[in-house]
Amino acid sequence: MSAIAQGQLPVSESPWQQARRRFMQTRMGPGGLIILASIFVFVIIGSLLLPYDFYVVPQPDEIRFVGRPPAWGRPFGETGMLQLDVMTLVANGGRTSLIIGFATAIGSITIGTLVGVIAGFLGGKIDSFLMRLADVFLMIPSLFVILFLARIFQGEGGGGVWSLVLVFVAFGWMGLARLVRGQVLAIREMEFVEAARALGVPPLRIALRHILPNAIGPLVVAAPFIVGGAIISEAFISYLGFGINPAVPTWGNIISESAKFLQQGNWWWIGFPGLFIVLTALSVNMIGDTLRSALDPRGRK
């Protein structure tokens, strides 16, 4: 069948190839990719290669509330109190922060897609139950509940990366589920699905092979924003002291510690982790926005 299609239709690029070409033609899309890739390279190389060991306290001979500002050899400066190397801290913290961001995106998208496909494909009572459930989750002031759950996990001796990811996923699936459901409802009525049904293709196969691949456009767009959102939330929750165990470096934990010394003028201690959070958020926004316009069928040439 595909041979006939290939033989008779004029050769054209697939929607995904087209989207990729449109993505690469912009300035913002590749720019965002370059920034994000640089952050990755810095985090991986930095956490492996930097000569200063984060966990070893360099035995300061004097207590200094104000650390040393950036200089040659220590381009990000040195913290107050323990006098740790800020560059090493930021690189090690970035590893945790990026893991949280990407794990949250993968988890939320998996659950959201599952709920959306089930609700949209099966319809009826299951659909309305799942959508009301999403309404309730959306109505809850999620920041409060996330903080509360993080506090509970902390009380249980946790404060781990995965319990935080779990909480983020629990409050990250609703919007995606609605999005996917809407897509599935529209695609379900299309002719090629009807054709597949008429051919006797089993429902599960229709859902997986015919509907899902056509419904993932909005998910691709949403993914970068979830990564950025999770990194920012982790930073904020850790800053409040409800997040990851303070002994583990994350961008949020570094800021949480350094914020106490802000008035002493340690701007580099809080500034560099802050800059990395902002750059990560900026790059994922750039990638996400470009993806959205690249995948928008109305703009296709």
Partner: protein, 364 residues
């Protein structure tokens, strides 16, 4: 229209009820309740712990506790009779009919575990600081977003538009707390222009909201107001900058979309003046989506200030929430969360109704 409104109100109430059930279950399912507070104290005997649990009503099954919190059950009865008040009417009806005055439907939010103060007093004490901060920010935010969005859309492609676009794009990537710290570093620490945090200067005035504060305020209002204003600058700047960055782009886009609509082309072909086209045809359609956004300012008023209040030690609802979470103070948390959820519901409702009033296509 009335039917549409009633249906939306009914749906909101149901979802609100579901939300409180969910939050209540979540709080009580969490391990480590308030009875754990003194667990490390060797003088705190198991008997005392049991008495404490009993006094707080935590020994009852969770559905009963929820029912009592809601006010559908009496506190002084058990089982099915609790649903009927002493006068023989269902407990959930207003107090003068049912004779029951406990539970939130009767306006009783319970007492804080932390210090035994009435939840409603603690919340109302924190409400004024939040309303001052968020109200001022919301007013500035909405007007700035409209002005910037409209100007950049009408002059699109110009230098001003490009500058504003790049600036808002970068600012929109800033998490609120990082922007707050950046502002503190620059304006308070480096330049020494503004106070670092708090609502009043402790060397000059009593704590905000105390009786002594209002005496002080009435004696020298000029000093008190300028002190308050100087403490407001940075938190308001933080909230407004963050929110405007997102919304100015939104306004710009919807005004641009309305510029391309057919009725605008018609107006132009009729030879109407540019000013008239802008005012009557572009802005009216272009600002509808944003007008509906005003309803979304309500949750912003209640919860969006949490981050800013924390950074600047502003004694409002956001900070109260963090205190309640830190102490696992369930009645206080339930009070704040249900009021917060109600604010979100009212905000959504207003925005839906506004949409229906402004855009008749929605009213189906």
């Amino acid at each position: 229209m009335l039917k549409f409104a009633l249906r939306r109100i009914g749906a909101s109430l149901l979802i609100l009820l579901g939300t409180t059930v969910f939050i209540y279950a979540l709080l009580l399912a969490a391990p480590g309740g308030p009875e754990q507070k003194y667990a490390n104290n060797p003088r705190f005997t198991p008997q005392q712990q049991q008495a404490y649990v009993k006094a707080l009503g935590l020994d009852k099954p969770v559905p009963v506790q929820y029912c009592r919190w809601l006010g559908a059950c009496r506190r002084d009865a058990d089982g099915i009779e609790a649903l009927i008040g002493p006068t023989g009417f269902p407990s959930i009806l207003p107090a003068f009919i049912s004779g029951v005055d406990t539970g939130i439907v009767h306006g009783d939010f319970g007492y804080s575990y932390e210090n035994g103060n009435a939840v409603i007093d603690r919340i109302s004490g924190a409400l004024l600081p939040t309303l001052i901060l968020a109200g001022l920010s919301a007013a500035l935010w909405l007007s700035l977003a409209v002005v910037l969005g409209v100007i950049t859309a009408l002059r699109n492609g110009g230098l001003f538009d490009n500058t504003v676009s790049v600036f808002t794009y970068v600012i929109a990537a800033f998490p609120t707390f990082i922007l707050g710290f950046a502002l503190i570093s620059i304006f308070s620490v480096a330049l020494g222009l503004t106070p670092v945090s708090g609502m009043t200067d402790g060397r000059l005035s009593p704590a905000f909201g105390s009786d002594a504060y209002w005496v002080y305020f009435s004696q020298n209002p000029g000093v008190a107001i300028s002190d308050l204003a100087s403490h407001l600058i940075l938190p308001v700047a933080t909230l407004v900058t963050i929110s405007v960055a997102g919304d100015a782009r939104y306004v710009r886009q919807s005004v641009m979309e309305s510029m391309g609509m057919e009725h605008v082309r018609t107006a132009r072909s009729k030879g109407l003046s540019n000013l008239r086209i802008n005012r009557r045809h572009i802005l009216r359609t272009g600002l509808i989506p944003f007008a509906t956004n005003i309803g979304l300012a309500f949750p912003f008023l209640v919860s969006g200030a949490l981050i800013t209040e924390t950074i600047f030690s502003w004694p409002g609802i956001g900070r109260l929430t963090l205190i309640a979470i830190g102490n696992l103070d369930y009645p206080l948390l339930m009070g704040i969360l249900s009021i917060g959820a109600a604010a979100v519901a009212i905000g959504n409702l207003i925005s839906d109704l506004l949409y229906a009033v402004l855009d008749p296509r929605v009213r189906l």
